[in-house]
């Protein structure tokens, strides 16, 4: 048993993640070609605009379901919304935010762009602490808007006139997943501006602007888009109930800062917070790079229902470091 533990704890989690991402990408982008359908409640970007997708991102049905009169929403039809949320929760609870780090196809694309940047020898950017605190609120704002705007189609909100039906899926119109993911199934049709109305013109033009920023941003900032992702915000609302956990023993932390330096999202708390046991923050994507970079015995741990799956060990740290040195990375 000890040998098995040592083997796992010394494993290269980043390499494991790379392969999981490739498999997940194949399932979510091409799964439909194998008649695979994981449903419409996935806590990750599986885009319904991509023909042959193996499932659908939950934000899509959430926006659809929000488009109903409040009276119905609070009545029988609201059960549909609740059951949808329940489906999302059931998918989410097992893997927690590792849906972002291991499964999200848009996240995988950003990681592949980062690999390209590293090969090209271009340095990356980090946000300052103040900018980080300011920008992290955007994803919550987007989450609120993606519910409020469709709700405003069937209801007069704040005394305002009802919105056009073109606001039915406002977030999808601006999401880079809609424009980028269909490209992998040979469909470039979403890289366009929809001139059918003023609303769709603005939203799809915004979508193309975000797509442009997505590629440039991902090239200079690791996981650039994840910082603004409303799916990440929605996940964090349920994160505390997740069965997969990332915990920290503050007493063992020496504040060496390794975990912060390797964090793709640039979360400072992972190094600075020695009080919290549950160290999953709202921007965390549970990639577990921090665990791999931690040299302190059992300081950072990944557990599922209390059973440790992966933990920081001195031996593991040095093994991984020597492997990286050999690879020249």
């Amino acid at each position: 048993m000890k040998k098995i533990k040592r083997f796992f704890y010394s494993a290269d989690i980043d390499r494991f993640r790379f392969y999981v991402q490739i498999i997940s990408f194949g399932v979510l982008i091409y799964g439909g070609c194998l008649a695979l359908d994981l449903g419409t409640h996935l806590p990750t970007f599986a885009c319904p605009f991509a023909a042959g997708a193996g499932g659908t991102c939950y934000l899509f049905p959430l926006q659809h379901q929000a488009n109903m009169p409040l009276r119905q929403l609070l009545g029988g039809r609201g059960i549909g919304l609740l059951s949808g949320l329940g489906g999302f929760f059931l998918f989410f609870i097992f893997f927690n935010k590792s849906w972002c780090g291991f499964i999200c196809p848009l996240g995988a694309i950003q990681d592949w762009i980062t690999r390209l940047r590293v090969r090209a020898g271009i340095r990356y950017s980090m946000y300052s602490k103040a900018t980080f605190q300011r920008l992290k609120k955007i994803k919550y704002l987007l989450l609120i808007l993606l519910v409020l705007l469709p709700l405003g189609i069937s209801n007069s909100l704040f005394g305002l006139p009802r919105l056009s039906h073109d606001f039915a899926t406002p977030y999808c119109m601006a999401c880079p997943g809609r424009t980028v993911l269909p490209l992998f199934s040979g469909d470039a049709g979403q890289l366009a501006v929809d001139f059918s109305s003023a609303t769709t013109t603005v939203l799809t033009a915004l979508g193309m602007t975000v797509t442009g920023l997505f590629f440039v941003g991902a090239f200079v900032k690791r996981r650039f888009f994840c910082f603004f992702c409303p799916m990440s915000a929605l996940q964090y609302l349920f994160s505390k109930a997740g069965l997969l956990r990332l915990t920290k023993d503050g007493g063992k932390c020496t504040r060496c800062g390794n975990c912060y330096r390797v964090c793709d999202m640039g979360i400072r708390e992972i190094a600075e917070d020695i009080e919290s046991r549950n160290i999953v923050k709202d921007d965390c994507m549970m990639c577990f790079k921090c665990v791999a970079a931690c040299p302190e015995e059992n300081c950072l741990k990944v557990s599922f229902l209390g059973a440790t799956l992966y933990a920081a060990t001195e031996e593991g740290f040095f093994k991984r470091s020597s492997r990286e040195e050999k690879r020249g990375t």
Partner: protein, 329 residues
């Protein structure tokens, strides 16, 4: 007035010739062609009223359709093929406004979720010819709230010809795996004509759009005929354009065979089969989207963002300055 009086004897002569020709012609050729039997949405509360189109997104528990034909022989037969393959008999009511056919579509996901196909058959002998007219109607009983679990279930998505239908037009390109109508103007549609479940070669097929545009074709050996829909939606002002605008088209197939028999106490020497099926189409996406604009916005954003980042990084670079100080100071 003078001219009319002068031509009067000539007109009488021509009329006499026409009567002679008509008497000398075989009896079946004298019968004016009966119009096909059509089904249309009948008033049914808020939805499905005249001039409206059924929505494949909003299920209703009772479906009512009106039979439109100036002549009916009265020997009406009707049946509904449900999504689970079972065949039921709908209710036929003769009202002041005409004949209506109705059937229940129980709410919710399950065996009734999907395509219901209504067939109404009217038969009668007139002047030695048996007229067999079939009106077909597809109704999509679906709500996105029930999910798209049948996406890859061919038995549920695709419809088959019915062996009991005298003449039937089949098209498998009306809806996609999500039960959403997908026909757009400019699409090429392939139809197959079957007679009692067997491909009908040599049948004349006519497609007529709601705006009066029409095309004809004759079925090949395997009963196929294809048409490319016209693009015919061009409002005068851009503001009036509605990408959800729906237009009806109707496909009619006719076929005649020589066969002697007796129906309702009347002898006939030929049988003429007529079948109809309506469906709707929306404007082509190509009419209102522009990839040139989309890509231009994307590339301009990328160029500006990349230039901005480059300039920002350059400005933050400080030239190396050696700090020298005298230890004695």
């Amino acid at each position: 007035m003078t001219g009319t009086l002068r031509n009067f004897p000539q007109k009488r002569y021509m009329l006499a010739v026409l009567i002679l020709v008509a008497v000398a012609t075989p009896s079946y050729a004298r019968i004016p062609d009966l119009e096909p039997l059509y089904l249309t949405e009948a008033p049914a509360g808020k939805r499905g009223g005249p001039g409206q189109f059924e929505s494949e997104h909003r299920p209703i528990s009772l479906r009512r359709y009106r039979l439109s034909a100036s002549t009916l022989y009265g020997s009406l037969q009707a049946f509904v093929r449900r999504p689970d393959g079972t065949v039921t008999v709908p209710q036929i009511e003769k009202e002041k406004e005409g004949v209506t056919v109705s059937f229940q579509t129980p709410f919710g996901d399950g065996p009734m979720h999907g395509i219901h196909t209504l067939y109404v058959i009217d038969q009668g002998v007139e002047n030695g010819r048996l007229w067999v007219r079939t009106a077909k109607w597809h109704t999509v009983h679906h709500s996105c709230g029930w999910g798209h679990g049948y996406k890859y279930d061919k038995d549920r998505i695709l419809t088959e010809p019915l062996d009991a239908a005298p003449l039937e037009i089949l098209c498998r390109e009306f809806w996609d795996g999500n039960f959403h109508s997908k026909v757009q103007s400019g699409d090429r549609l392939q139809f197959r004509v079957f007679s009692y479940g067997v491909p009908a070669a040599g049948a004349e097929v006519r497609l007529t759009s709601g705006r009066g545009w029409s095309r004809r074709a004759v079925t090949a050996e395997d009963g196929t005929a294809s048409f490319q829909l016209i693009r015919d939606y061009y409002p005068e002002r851009w503001q009036d354009f509605d990408r959800r605008h729906r237009e009806r088209f109707t496909v009619v197939a006719e076929s005649e065979i020589q066969r002697q028999g007796r129906f309702s106490g009347k002898d006939y020497g030929r049988i003429r089969y007529i079948a109809s099926i309506p469906w709707t189409y929306t404007p082509s996406r190509k009419e209102y989207t522009s990839s040139i604009f989309g890509l231009s916005i994307g590339f301009i954003t990328m160029a500006l963002a990349a230039a901005g980042i480059y300039v920002y990084r350059e400005r933050r670079m400080r030239p190396y300055r050696e700090v020298a100080f005298n230890e004695k100071d």
